[in-house]
Amino acid sequence: MAKYDIKVNGVSKSVDVAEDTPLLWVLRDHLDLVGTKYGCGIAQCGACTVHLGGNAIRSCSLTIASVGSQEITTIEGLSEDGNHPVQQAWREVDVPQCGYCQAGQIMTASAFLDKNPNPTSGEINTAMHGNICRCASYTRIHRAVEIAATKLG
């Protein structure tokens, strides 16, 4: 066990956990930030996606020891009032079915659009390929990413 100081959603936090603890479980079990979901534990489904220094990463496969001083943003901190353009687009399109994977989808989409605000359809497919939606709400995810791009643009 060791003490780690991390910055999550702009707030400094201190946790005492084993060094191999994935960031996912630090967020969920130790910091009560349960919006980030567990899906596979091996970076294959994208449900656990958060931003680390502005990049979308799989928090299930990133140990707390390797976070360092990089800022973490989770779905809870993506916007203050739930009105990030990507969240707005998700609401407009009525994307979710069960809803479980959507935090990860939104975090992947928002990091992607930050870097590529005018994506082609093919670029959206590539960017979102790592996020599984078992309910297969893919059609709406794709449309919502397109709409979010116009809001950001």
Partner: protein, 742 residues
Amino acid sequence: MSTSSITFNRRSFIRTSSLASGGLLIGFNLFTACKPKVQPPVDISQLNFNDFNAFIKIADNGAVTIFSPNPEIGQGVKTAMPMLIAEELDVAWDKVYVQQGILDTENYTRQLAGGSQSIRLGWEPLRQTGATARQMLVNAAAMKWGIDPSECTTSDGVISNSQGETLGYGDVVKEAAALEVPESVTLKTPNNFKIIGTDATNVDMDKIITGKPLFGLDYKVDGMVYASVLRPPAFGKILDSYDDAKAKAMPGVIDVIRIGEKAKELSKEGIANWTVAMSKSDKVVVIAKSTWEALKGKEAISAQWVEDSTLESTEYQDKKLLGLLDGKEFKTLRKDGDINKAFVKADKILERTYESPFLPHNCMEPMNFFANVTEEKIHLVGPVQTPEFAASAVAGMLGRDIKDVHLEMTRMGGGFGRRLYGDFVYEAAEISNAINKPVKLVFSREDDMNAGTYRPAIKYRIKAAIKDGQVTAYYLKEAAINGNMYGLIPNFFPAGAIENYQVDVANHQSNITTGAWRAPYTNFLAFAEQSFFDELAETMEVDRIQLRLDLLEKVKGTTDERIEYSPERMQNVIKVAVDKSGWGKKEEGVFQGFAAYYCHNSHVAEVADVEIENGKPIVKKVTCVVDCGIVVNPLGAINQIEGGVIDGVGHAMYGDLTFLEGKPHSQNFDKYRLIRMGEIPLVESHLIQNDLAPTGLGEPTLPPAGAAVANALKAATGNRFTQQPFSKFPELMQVPTKPIIG
């Protein structure tokens, strides 16, 4: 306007309660919702409001809360069921607060997510509940004004009279509670609907997109510990011994225990047959302070397992099932005429065999449940599709009264049938009972995929006789694992359309646990039959659409009560699909495949468009036409259609769980392939507009998708797929140098 007689017991309908804030809540309830034969409890007066879970609560400030009784697994009932109540209550939908009802066997019935039945069975009773509450509020207002209730109108929660005076529902709710419950109420006709038929956003939208705790895995209480369970590595093995020294020394690990006795009682009593194989073995449980520590602790257990029954492999099962199809031991589920005579007289006979693998459900939220078993009560919280059953099984297993069980349903990260089976609820309860602590049982993804209640492997053999250009016999044989098609499935199309018709089934009993998977049986039967009809049309040298329409024509006017599909509605969806998909009118290079199917009380037709890209056939588009009667929430309905079609395409293309010596070959999504963005077709949805009572949408668009794709692939490649998943046969995906015109 239609008058609808109801049989409410006044005492059963209303409950009042003072709020701490000084307001008054009235609970309008309906015992008979969804299941008219249920008797209300004898001594209702003993119920207090806190135990009383009504469908509607109206505060004296006018705030309206509608409780959604059924579990939400992504099928949208938490939005659509309250819409039915709100419509007849005549309140503004955007002012309604929707809350998930808890399991309450006395006040609700059929609190179940399964079979796409929530909307169909809730259609009348939920609207009657809303209409009855509205009528009582109107009656109260009319008394205040000294006028006849018929002189009052309502709109958006406000009652008006001809003098222009108005009263809000909150203004009269106290008086309404004292009135007699009307014996009959008037329901709106569809042309007066203000909420039904309009787009309503998912009621949990804001919580979902901002990451609020909603799901079972998010539930947490003070003092809760986490449990990870080591189960047998293969079906057919049971626990012999284990060494937990290493695990116990790990940080965060509180204890390691052995469980299994209680669950064995459960299977002995036949309470939960599907867990028999799984509960034959004891299990090792690691209790820890956090999820990660519990999962890691489990990895550190060294266990010895012994073989107690056959370690089955896919190859072994394939031989068994093919042996059954070749054999003579069948149970006949439907028999019309004499197929054998017709086969003897036939000009031509077509026979094909179709084969499907096991499929895991792979809900994105792995199985989990919270349990806190104390002397006072059993508190259970989590995602389960059958809360009533789970609660009674836990009570039985622990020798407790059902009244001790308090079960709360969370939103579920997918269901697909997996959460119909409560093995994870029983495990959580047994663990909490053993350690006397509140506990959260968590399955890892590997646990989830390897301790499933899978869609079993199934094989169909279909044989048809053709005589003088007519289909004179149809013989469907099913060989499946652990069970067979049930209910009215043997009477689905083409039953009733062919004079000599027979459905025979047989099964192989395996120790691999199996169960319902989105559209049980029909999810593969539709593929087999709708692929077969295409080949039948080719063999008969007739138009594949016309063949289906002609057969349906013969069903019209049937007096056979087992035939529940409507030939008229089926013909209609087929014709609309032909029109909307541009069937037969596509430019060169677009290959189309057709399928139509009835199940879960809805009629569906689909056309898949395949195009060749980089020498490979790609499913570009599926046109889906659905007749599910009145559409309660079109926005949610189209989401279900798109999801069902893509799920059907994805599993037909990629879904595959094989076994080697009792062990599944995949443990996680690195080996198990689910369809992803970039692999999906565009789905164009068309809903038939009519005023018929609504039917379900959670399942019916999935079954025809695989056949529509297979029929389109045949057009594109000349190759016929008879086995799923298609991706297992790359040689059949080869496109001939000279394209075949489909």
